[in-house]
Amino acid sequence: MRGGPVNFLEFLLHNRGEALALTLEHIVLVAVAMLIAVVLGVPLGIVITRQARLRRWVLGAANVFQTVPSLALFGFLIPVPLLGGIGSRTAVVALVLYALLPVIRNTYAGIAGVDPAVIEAARGMGMTDRQLLRYVELPLALGVIMTGIRVATVISVGIATIAAAIGAGGLGTYIFRGLAMVNNQVILAGAVPAALLALVADFSLGWAEHRLKTSR
């Protein structure tokens, strides 16, 4: 692009209003998706510690979503009624599907990893199943569950860039625009902030996780 931006920083500065809006859009996509993934995934992870039969199916299904290439998943979802279509709703659905596996798996692993002797002691004290979960298993599994949420969030920040392909906005908008324009600087204007966002999410959730692990 002749006469266009010299580098992506200049481009971002020049278009700071739009860049900020896209960044916010990106954060909202990821945040909404993660909220849903946690609300679905943590209870599912808990259920499969109780129901061995369900475990294979739930983990298997979550695994399958994880293996579908993200661009293809967005494409598959477009014709699906209610969940699909063009726009951010479809993007959130896809992000949730990707985030579920780490959240479910770590919730399961965290609870299954609690020392069986501690569980038996708690049972011996007369805890009900619910009290056991609330006072013993969940607090002791919290660090591992947080790791799952952190991993899922970082993955989602990356995958959310592809959401722009189905008109969901976010920083991917610059990446696809740059691709269409064959302009690396515009691609970088989307890719670099997205990468920074992933780092910030990783760092801040990692810090929260560390706090949880040491405070218990």
Binding site: D115, A121, A122, R123, G124, M125, G126, Y135, P139
Partner: protein
Amino acid sequence: MNVVIECRQADYRLNDGRALVTDLSFGVESGETLVLLGRSGSGKTTTLKLINRLLEPTAGEVLVEGRPTTVWDPIRLRRRIGYVIQEVGLLPHMTVERNVGLVPALEGWEPERVRSRVRELLALVGLEPDQFAKRRPHELSGGQRQRVGVARALAADPPVLLMDEPFGALDPVTRAEMQREFRSLQQRLNKTIVFVTHDVREALLLATRIALLADGRLVALHSRRDFLHAPEPEVADFVSVLKSLDEELNL
């Protein structure tokens, strides 16, 4: 005397058919300390778990206060029975105060009442409440952890205590100290206690009666006084351990 716990021909088998305890029959009287003595794998711990229904007998029955454990609501049953186990029994993410106050809190006591009960119990087991209430289990020595375990088991004032090698992981000096304190506690509190150990000295020191288990069967049940001279060969094996130590020292 009033029988609080009674096993009637109780068996416990694993799904693969292996028997952990077989045809177990004995009673525990109110206020006594029955020691279950035996080597590793003799079924002592399994017997304890049959009493608080962490396990259910696969044949026969176990009665607590006259009712089969399978008829009791397991939660109600367990809250009437204090349970002390070796080492790992404390919840690692909770302070000493919360660990000790857990059962009263689950029972719905007022927080103020729980707190004063916790302080009372910590003092009872020889831990200064101000110093220890806010600590976590990993900040305690083995002996202190075990004291907290005893305090927790006593918290809701249960009539029955089950103790599974509570002093097994302690160094000999601390163990002797804990045993002495256990005896004085026992005299003051008058609980019905079932105490598991593999240490014949400890059994003789703490028991009202001693039940000897071998391969999941009860092979002898005697008062402390009679145990040393009991006729069963299995008893003689255990008693000879005591004597051989004496003899070695006298050499």
